[in-house]
């Protein structure tokens, strides 16, 4: 854990602030005690009594704090009383000064920040399970943290805005999400967030500034060569730098991701529905397919998203007309390029009357919505895709009733979330999207199986590791030389003839990836399995692979004797 630095900073600030008041208190006490001891007391039995140091200290202790207690151990002489008056006033003033200094210390900005950092580092250290560092808690970050939390994974947040860190603390997460208000690209803060911890699985750099993301990625890589790095980047220049960092680096470009989705949507409409349903998109279901029509398309706004979309559309043989305030770049081949803002006039000029599709891709939500309404008034039958930049405008976009809404923050968050909680999913998607004969039928098969097994329930992607810690019973069984088949563990223990409500997607076995594995696959130690199922199925499956009796029952159909008595009975009478 990285604390030595903050600990020394906290104690340093405390010492520096408290030095003067402490010295003042010590001086006042010592002078007062010295005076008390040396001033002659009353005569008792003809002998002048002096106070001992202990008694003088005791007297000062209750006098200086104005408690007042009387004259102990004997009544004072008048000289002592005079000294006591002086001591009382001086010491009370000193105490007020000391207390004031403590109050000032707690209001010290540096002290507060140092304490916050220390507290953050301590709470990160308390996480005794794999966790992810999320740098940037904007729209993308909050969706991501919520998703991780729902999947039962831990996250740690660093964000520069105090408001957002405060908002983080007010959310109702299932597990605590420690947050620090700081610049994540400063190595010290990444260390405090636990980047060198063995439990830290990945650093996710999704601040709104690309340079910062790049710096976070580089710093994280230098501090921990094994940690996974996921970052959002929309610029090719940065991507090249990031790719050379080495180790596990994922770069998520929301516009490229969207272009891929759009491409899949044109070529495999069923796949788009499946993807949306898996990521839990509102209103997504397995029955309704979105199918962008082939014909003339209008792209309003030719930024990075417009460019990527244009590329995909032309690749699929669709003719596009572009409207953008900026003049065109020379190298691109676009049939119609209209320079200017998208309005009724330019839309007509771009041929809205006989167009089949419209993509509103500007980086301004108001503009996108107005283009959408404008275009729809000119042509009722348009297929519309609209870009939503800010999460706050969700209600307006929901009312706009576009065929597809592209939200870069959401696209990024979901992509990163899938990479984190279901790293095997990309193999599954790659398999489904491969241009090979029969893949369309495969997708239809997958969808119909999912519909039968999960239907309207909330789908959950679950990754199962067959390791000694995570599926103890299975590995024990393998150690004894028995085989465990996939079909055995996904059977319902309540009725082994039936399967649980889940569908196997991918199994990674000894470096080999098997998509849609069959039920007679033999599990080996170290295998990783990805399935989609319900929360209930996940619960049962996890208990099966950790309970040797249930596992034995499912594999053999025989109840294994569990207690010593039953085991003895089985051996004695050979009933097992």
């Amino acid at each position: 854990m990285y604390t030595s630095n903050e600990l020394s900073r906290v104690s340093f600030i405390v010492m520096r602030e408290m030095r003067t008041p402490l010295i003042a208190l010590i001086t006042v006490y010592s002078v007062a005690i010295f005076g008390m001891v040396s001033i002659p007391g009353p005569e008792i039995d003809g002998k002048i009594e002096y106070l001992s140091i202990f008694h003088a200290f005791y007297f000062m202790t209750y006098t200086a704090t104005t408690t007042g207690f009387g004259e102990i151990p004997f009544a004072f002489s008048d000289a002592q009383r005079l000294w006591a008056i002086a001591c009382l006033y001086v010491s009370v003033v000193t105490w007020f000064y000391a207390l004031g200094s403590i109050v000032r210390l707690f209001q010290n900005v540096f002290f507060k920040r140092a304490v916050d950092e220390l507290r953050f580092a301590l709470s990160v250290n308390r996480i005794g399970a794999p966790f992810y560092i999320i740098c940037g808690f904007g729209d993308t970050g909050s969706v991501l943290v919520r998703g991780l939390n729902d999947a039962g994974l831990h996250a740690v947040v660093i964000d520069e805005s105090a408001e957002r860190v405060m908002a983080l603390k007010l959310r109702n997460y299932k597990t605590a999400v420690p947050g620090l208000c700081a610049d994540a690209s400063v190595p010290r803060h990444l260390l405090e967030a636990g980047v060198t911890s063995e439990y830290c699985k990945a650093v996710v750099a999704i601040t709104s500034i690309e340079d910062v993301n790049l710096k976070i990625s580089a710093v994280a890589r230098l501090l921990n060569p094994d940690v996974g790095i996921l970052t959002m980047s929309k610029m090719d220049v940065f991507e090249e730098t990031l790719a050379t960092l080495g180790g596990e680096v994922h770069i998520v470009d929301p516009f490229k991701t969207f272009a891929k989705v759009l491409n899949a949507c044109i070529n495999n409409p069923a796949f788009y529905a499946l993807n949306n349903w898996l990521v839990g998109d509102k209103g997504a279901n397995l029955e309704s397919y979105v199918h962008p029509p082939v014909g003339g398309w209008i792209i309003a706004g030719y930024g990075r998203m417009g460019m990527e979309a244009n590329h995909v559309l032309t690749m699929n043989g669709i003719k596009t007309a572009v409207i953008d305030p900026h003049s065109r770049k020379k190298e691109e081949e676009i049939e119609t390029y209209i320079t200017g803002r998208a309005n009724a006039k330019t839309l007509r000029k771009a041929g809205i009357d006989h167009a089949v599709g419209l993509l509103a891709a500007a980086d301004d939500d108001g503009q996108n919505l107005s283009v959408l309404l404008n275009a729809r008034s000119l042509n009722q039958n348009l297929f519309t895709i609209v870009r939503q930049n800010s999460h706050q405008n969700e209600l307006a976009f929901a009312k706009a009733d576009a065929d597809m809404i592209m939200q870069p923050t959401l696209v990024t968050a979901r992509k990163i979330l899938l990479l984190l909680i279901a790293p095997l999913l990309k193999h599954f998607f790659r398999y489904l999207l491969a241009r090979e004969p029969g893949r369309d039928d495969d997708i239809k098969q997958v969808i119909s199986t999912l519909r039968d097994k999960i239907g309207d329930k909330k789908p959950l992607l679950v990754t199962v590791d067959f390791t000694r810690e995570k599926s103890r019973a299975v590995i024990q069984y393998l150690d004894q030389g028995f085989d465990v088949l996939l079909g055995d563990i996904i059977a319902d223990p309540r009725n082994p003839e039936q399967e649980l409500e889940l569908m196997l997607f991918v199994i990674q076995s000894e470096g080999q990836v098997i998509v849609l594995p069959s039920n007679d696959h033999k599990i080996k130690e170290g295998d990783q399995l990805l399935f989609c199922g319900t929360a209930y199925a996940k619960q049962i499956l996890k208990s099966t692979i950790n309970n040797e009796y249930t596992l034995h029952y499912l594999c053999t159909g025989i109840h294994k004797p569990s207690s010593y008595f039953a085991q003895w009975y089985a051996r004695r009478f050979n009933k097992a």
Binding site: R494, N547, Y549, T550, H559, S562, Y564, F565, A566, Q567
Partner: protein, 127 residues
Amino acid sequence: MNLEKVIFGFFIVLSLTLNVGFVLGEYNNPEHHSVYELFAVVVVNMIATGLKLGDRSQIGALLLATSLVADFELIAAALEWTFAVHVIGTGITPEVITSIVSLAGGALVANIISVVILVSETLISRI
């Protein structure tokens, strides 16, 4: 059907029901509480504990723990009865029987937890 589960279920439910039988009645009236019933509860409960030994699953460990709690409290109750009658010789006064019934009541709670765990485990994983 699994014979082991039948035997185990039989003893654990029997121990619970006998325990209820002993505790029922006015808590300070010695006439309402039979020494033979207490003896039966102790014996059946100990047999149930023995049947749980050796189960390596999480649920098995929990069942063993609750059963051990019941054992301890019932044995304490039995010891108190023995002391009162044979060692100190006060006999079963209302004070003594109150204390014995309290201990048996504690064991009853542990037995109820055992049965709840057993039933819920069965409902969740196997029917």
